[in-house]
């Protein structure tokens, strides 16, 4: 990753110095080794804080909505999964493609600090990844963990490839793995309605309505959002312990149905650890099974499943019957 980082840094310097771009969107060092943050670099000087490592899980594509409105060109580093969000935003006319220079960067899966902490490690000061082994340095010593167990949920089942690039910095290919991203959704489908309700009530009751999942979601890019409208009845947290935030989550998941690229950002940012990707993946699975396979963000053109139809489409009751 260090090699990749230095190549990226080098490239960013050239682009800024030559004036080809006015800014570069990347990641900046955080207070700790595990919290780098998205940042805009406008000069070579600012690049001293640039970082690209195993904790750079954030998807930078949504920032381009604002950046592509500014003067001059913007360069951005996009991981494979981020390019789907990018395409989707171009398709929805939210990003001005002409003003963006996409540098595709390799990923190799990112780590989840929450999962590392859950292994009993605290005060993490650094990690060294060697294939499947992750050496975690902490103030209290070192530990070796298995990478599969500590990657972000979105990376665990990802086989995505770059869909857009103006240039690329890819030194290693991540091997294609045999994974079923719908396994957890299928397990839920096998349960009875009561068991499912119990599962979701336990999960969604944890929601503190911080709105982080909405704010980070590249598909949630409306200028005016129903959740900010005090008249909507769903603007704040419900004073209800039965199934507190169900409507917020149903509305949000439905609103991004057919547009959600499965980038996994919602689950990554949720401070309460709610597996939000299981909501969106249900829609993705249903759409795939009912209307034919569809991957949002694969292309920046064409219709989405919920904005088209076929005369032979199934009736809702027949969709429900299908095996579930």
């Amino acid at each position: 990753m260090k090699e990749v980082e230095s190549k990226m840094l080098e490239r960013a310097k050239v682009l800024l110095e030559s004036g080809e771009v006015a800014r570069v969107i990347g990641w900046r060092k955080g207070a700790f080794c595990h919290d780098p943050e998205p940042a805009s670099f406008e000069s070579v000087d600012e690049l001293k804080d640039f970082v690209y490592d195993y904790f750079c899980g954030a998807n930078l594509s949504k920032y381009l909505i604002a950046e592509s409105k500014k003067e001059g060109k913007t360069a951005v580093f996009l991981k494979p999964c981020d390019t789907y969000s990018f395409n989707q935003l171009v398709k929805e006319h939210r990003i001005n493609r002409e003003k963006i220079h996409v540098i595709a960067v390799e990923c190799m899966a990112k780590l989840d600090i929450g999962k590392i902490k859950a292994k009993g490690l605290s005060a993490v000061t650094g990690v060294e990844v060697d294939g499947e082994q992750v050496k975690v340095q902490t103030l209290y010593g070192e530990a070796v963990l298995s990478k599969t167990e500590i990657v972000l949920a979105k990376c665990a089942t990802c086989n995505k490839t770059h869909q857009v690039k103006d240039e690329e910095i890819v030194l290693h290919e991540r091997p294609v793995r045999d994974v079923n991203r719908f396994a957890e959704v299928e397990a839920l489908e096998q349960m009875t309605a009561e068991e499912r309700f119990k599962f979701w009530r336990e999960q969604l009751s944890k929601c503190i309505r911080c709105n982080a999942c909405r704010n980070v979601c590249p598909a949630c890019s409306c200028i005016k959002c129903v959740f900010d409208n005090p008249q909507s009845g769903v603007a704040a947290k419900a004073n209800d312990d039965k199934f507190e935030e169900q409507l917020f989550h149903i509305i949000r998941a439905y609103h991004v149905a057919g547009r959600c690229t499965d980038c996994g950002e919602c689950s990554r940012v949720c401070p309460q650890g709610i597996p939000l990707h299981l909501l969106n993946r249900k829609f993705i699975k249903d759409i795939d099974e009912t209307y034919g396979e569809f991957q949002a963000g694969e292309s920046a053109e064409g219709k989405t499943p919920l904005t088209e139809y076929r005369e032979s489409d199934l009736e809702p009751k027949d969709v429900l019957k299908e095996g579930k």
Partner: protein
């Protein structure tokens, strides 16, 4: 018209979104033909079934509906040509999602009822209300935020 109630006195609240051109006329025909359907059914007339934003369905549940049914013209007969095809996809996805969250399947329904199908309208409503009555009150989706203020 009579309301269907259970022994315990549970009167389900049913919201029926009916399109202006077919199903609402179908309901009218049911009425003028003296075919009965339960008084629990509150009809909301919409220009087309595709006017029913999935949010409307959720809002109805949030405000205490025990079942929500959407009725439109038969596929191919939409007054606006293709509206109901979109409805079909939207509702198929919404109903399946509600089922995934553990909301009983019988609380939601989509039916095609033409202006000439008064008998079908009455039969569908009787059947739907009976099913929702059997399920009992919808506690899973009702929401205090809305109920308290009213």
């Amino acid at each position: 018209m009579q309301e269907i109630t259970t022994k315990e006195g549970f009167v389900p609240n049913i919201v029926a979104f009916c399109c202006n051109w077919c199903s609402y006329a179908g309901a009218d025909l049911a009425g003028s033909s003296r075919l009965s359907y339960p008084a629990n059914v509150k009809i909301i007339r919409v220009p087309c079934s595709c006017r029913v934003n999935p949010m409307f369905v959720l809002k109805a549940f949030q405000r205490g509906a025990d079942g929500v049914i959407i009725c439109g013209c038969h596929p191919g007969d939409c007054h606006y040509v293709t509206g109901n095809y979109y409805t079909r996809r939207r509702m198929a996805m919404l109903f399946s999602f509600l089922d995934y969250l553990g909301i009983e399947r019988d609380r939601t329904r989509l039916e095609w009822v033409s202006a000439a199908e008064g008998a079908k309208f009455s039969a569908v409503m009787n059947d739907f209300v009976a099913k929702v009555t059997a399920l009992g009150e919808n506690k899973k989706l009702s929401d205090l935020r809305v109920k308290e203020g009213e």
